[in-house]
Symmetry: C2
Subunit: 146 residues, 2 copies
DNA sequence: ATCTATGCAAAGCTTTTGCAATCGT
DNA sequence: ACGATTGCAAAAGCTTTGCATAGAT
């Protein structure tokens, strides 16, 4: 039962990346977080942001959200909650008030998988991207939104 | 109400990409599908596979699964169902027999989002990747699996 | 003093795009 | 014949990695 993990050092960069992420409710991408961190540590590199995020995820301090679209997003809120993603602008918000839903956590399903968790992501339009009813018919539905 | 979409041609490449995808239950990535299509059309290019998949998604014939990890996966089964992803090998399977769950489809939530759909992905270990109980404690949990 | 972590730049990987040639209609 | 579609190759975008140096313990 040897702990093969190296001793982690509490660097300024790590403090800032985690500290800034915890302040935000906006689930930033790595490069957004890089821009924010740079305001405090002008010489920090994007690679360092990625490396620290990866480490924080491994340590269970941060959650990586691989939502649709391009970049991964990061969330320092480890409480159980799911997310809403805007189809138009890509913004991601928390969803804590899901109308009475209880998904099973651990079970074995008929195809033999041993389930240990799930990921639930709602898809829609954020307040800023809502449009008048009339427009809605002209929109192609999201590939996974239906 | 002008239909600005160009007329679609029924090319051999498109037939093969869609045809092979429909035969598979395995949710292949674009490059897996490319390898398969190449057995029938040796000169097809990866770009063509991507372009046809994109078109099929737009037309509602194929669903794009942006699951965790790197590559997107594609599914020609448009019926309502969700997916199970193996934490170890990345394989994705269907999950039709979800124990009594009913998620709300369309609603407006308190943060103002207009929800039109959702994405539910279960995470666990596939039959081939299951290990003895004793091993399970040494595994780092998935970033989004808990 | 040791060895993890950093900054920088290059490389990796998936996906997209420009262009001349091809082929479905 | 027209123009959507293709193959090819280059480019784009996000993320990872190699390496010498800096810095936490």
């Amino acid at each position: 039962m040897a702990s093969s993990q190296p001793v982690r050092r509490n660097t300024r960069q790590r403090q800032v990346v985690w500290g800034e992420l915890k302040k935000l409710k906006s689930h930033p991408t790595a490069s957004e977080l890089y821009d924010i961190a740079r305001q405090r540590l002008p010489r920090i590199s994007l690679g360092t942001v990625y490396r620290n995020l990866e480490l924080l995820v491994e340590n269970g301090a941060v959650r990586k959200l691989e939502v649709g679209g391009g970049e991964a997003r990061f969330d320092a809120d480890m409480g159980e909650h799911c997310h809403v993603r805007c189809l138009r602008c890509g913004r991601v918000d928390d969803l804590h008030d899901l109308p009475g839903t209880k998904l099973p956590e651990r079970f074995t399903c008929s195809n033999g998988y041993d389930i240990i968790g799930h990921r639930l992501e709602f898809i829609g339009y954020c307040p800023e991207c809502k449009r008048p009813e009339a427009e809605k018919n002209n929109e192609n539905p999201c590939s996974e939104g239906g």
